[in-house]
Amino acid sequence: MTLGGIDLIALTATLMVSSTPVLLAALGELVVEKSGVLNLGVEGMMIMGAIGGFAAAVMTGSPAVGFAAGALAGMGMALLFGVITQILLANQVATGLALTLFGLGLSALFGKGFEGIRPPQTARIDFGGLADLPVLGPILFSHDWVVYFSLFAVGAVGLFLSRSRAGLILRAVGENHDAAHALGYRVVAVRLAALAFGGAMAGLGGAYLSLVRVPQWTEGMTAGAGWIALAIVVFAGWRAGGVLLGAYLFGGVTALQLRLQAAEYAIPVQLLSMAPYLITIIVLVAISALHARGRQAAPAALGRSFHASR
């Protein structure tokens, strides 16, 4: 299916790959923020995941080990943040910014010697004849497992938050930690668990960036993807479905605008390069406005430190 010289099917398949790092990181951050913690260190966790995953994959020759290592690296960063903000009660905004700077620096240090190396290829899942289906084949049945995992995670996180008892506790902690504490829930433990999950997802996203999307290791290669993930969580109104839409819109419009340029459309380039940001924000804000009906979307305890004595 081609529209105006742009192959829409190939474009859709591409956007799913290029959106996956941001989608994974944003889903992780969604759970973290729902538990009432604002971790601005997504960028730092992503880039640690990128180098951790890349190094492990190159050394073992196995992309799966790489992704696991990337998730662990991100989780380690998140737990560092957790100890500093949840146990030592440091300011979350400052700690998150520091985590980003720390991650960028540390990853550059670990990454020395990994430049210009090609990582082992992550295999696509073989769906047999399904991949040859018209339209659906290339879009749905031609990806590697991380893309499917990210889509599964959207559903799982959405259901977990809205339909499960554990999700209810997590949201209670995020809305009013004093009340949750009074009910006997362990606020700090819940938040540390959420942070660990968020870090693992950011790390996985980072590993996907260095192992599949680019694929190589370069210092500072996340180049702001973590901040995009943070913004998408907010504009998506803290909903898993919104995060998916936001990530795919952003990735899709980015891929589309580059294609439009290459196909020499007579649209001002400045407008095209603004488009991913503009369109994503407008669509998500419009949907949030329709959805919210005056309801406060942000978790009420977001960014506030909890101490049991109060």
């Binding site: 190939a10 290029s18 430049e115 190396i117 090609r118 999307r213 190589q216 290669m221 580059l258 340029q261």
Partner: protein, 361 residues
């Protein structure tokens, strides 16, 4: 200013109260600062400047003390970084990206005793010099190889920002590709960033999807090389740095910026007090632009042709912009045999005839 006065006064008082003689002053090393637009590990543009900085350290040893700040965004933050370097006592500061231009001019006005060197810019002052390399000479050679080797007759070019330095490169590559292959088309994608591996990879993928089997880049990371390698049958050229990790395919040649000799010369001039505000524009001839190894993926006769051109450019016998050349709209630019002066090139803001894309203003 007040804070600086306060600091120097307290320092002086401290020295006095301790009874220290000001002997240390005489041996104080020359402090040289750098700001880079990307990380030093980008393996491209900033990496090459960092090589230059290390060359200064190696050359002058204890007589200099260098510092650098990496990933400094172009815009207001550059002004902060430059001010910080100036306040830290650096007396020579290299600002290594086009977008630092206005920040350099503003900070230079506030620190008349600090010397600034701005790469690829065109604004100068008493204490601001500019330096640039004729990257377009390397692009002419790349264009020749690309025109000979393309099978789809489509050459892709990833632009960073529509500034003269980049426009020169696009024009030079296109002119020389067309010269050897009249069927060649040029597709340009603007990334609007110097460094964003994911976006650079996307841009390369978009060009490859459009049928380009040559991808040139004017951005700083090696991501487009990785994307081309994945595609298999696409050739690329190392940008700013040799990027030899991607040789022999997809990287078949490169443009290498060698800043080290220039940096050593300028620091030397600071040390012996002969520094003046100059505009330096080096090329293949002066060694500031190198073309790297042309790999075995290039047919021998094409390689010979490319090397002969590099030789002619280096000796000054051939200028990549030699008329007759028309502007994109068909109006004449250079008459037969005419070459543009440097001022004209430094402000180049149009495509030559034959490029179909529109240049963003």
């Amino acid at each position: 200013m007040k804070r600086r006065t306060f600091l120097s006064t307290t320092a002086a008082l401290g020295a006095l109260s301790l009874g220290l003689p000001g002997l240390a002053q005489a041996q104080e090393p020359l402090k040289v600062g750098f700001i880079y637009v990307g990380p030093v590990g980008d393996m491209g543009w900033s990496y090459q400047h960092e090589q230059g900085r290390q060359a200064i350290e190696a050359e002058f040893g204890d007589r200099v003390q260098t510092t650098y700040m990496e990933s400094v965004p172009e815009g207001p933050d550059a002004e902060r970084a430059l001010t910080q370097l100036a306040l830290a006592g650096n007396s020579l500061i290299f600002a290594t990206s086009f977008g630092y231009m206005d920040a350099v001019m503003n900070v230079a006005a506030k620190f008349p005793n600090v010397k600034f060197e701005h790469a690829t810019g065109y604004k100068r002052a008493e204490n601001v010099a500019t330096y640039d390399a004729r990257f377009y000479e390397g692009r002419a050679i790349q264009g020749t190889i690309a025109g000979r080797m393309t099978k789809t007759n489509k050459i892709g070019y990833i632009g960073s920002f529509p500034i003269p330095e980049v426009v020169q490169g696009i024009n030079a590559a296109f002119i020389h590709a067309r010269k050897v292959n009249p069927a060649v088309e040029m597709k340009v994608v603007w990334a609007y960033t110097w460094f964003d591996p994911a976006k650079e990879a996307d841009a390369a993928a978009a060009l490859i999807a459009e049928g380009c089997d040559v991808v040139m880049q004017h951005t700083d990371s090696t991501a487009p090389q990785a994307k081309a390698q994945e595609a298999g049958n696409v050739i690329t050229f190392g940008q700013a740095s040799d990027m030899s990790a991607f040789a022999p395919m997809p990287r078949v040649g490169s443009t290498i910026d060698d800043w080290a000799p220039y940096y050593i010369e300028r620091v030397g001039k600071m040390l012996d007090g002969t520094w003046t505000s100059d505009a330096t524009w080096g090329g293949i001839g002066s060694g500031m632009v190198g073309i790297g190894e042309i790999t075995s993926a290039v047919p021998a006769e094409v390689k010979a042709e490319a090397l002969a051109m590099a030789d002619a450019i280096g000796k000054g016998e051939y200028h990549p912009f030699t008329g007759p050349l028309n502007k994109q709209d068909g109006t004449p630019w250079l008459a037969a045999g005419e070459t543009p002066d440097d001022g004209q090139l430094a402000g180049l803001d149009f495509y030559v005839e034959g490029i179909t894309a529109e240049l963003p203003k």
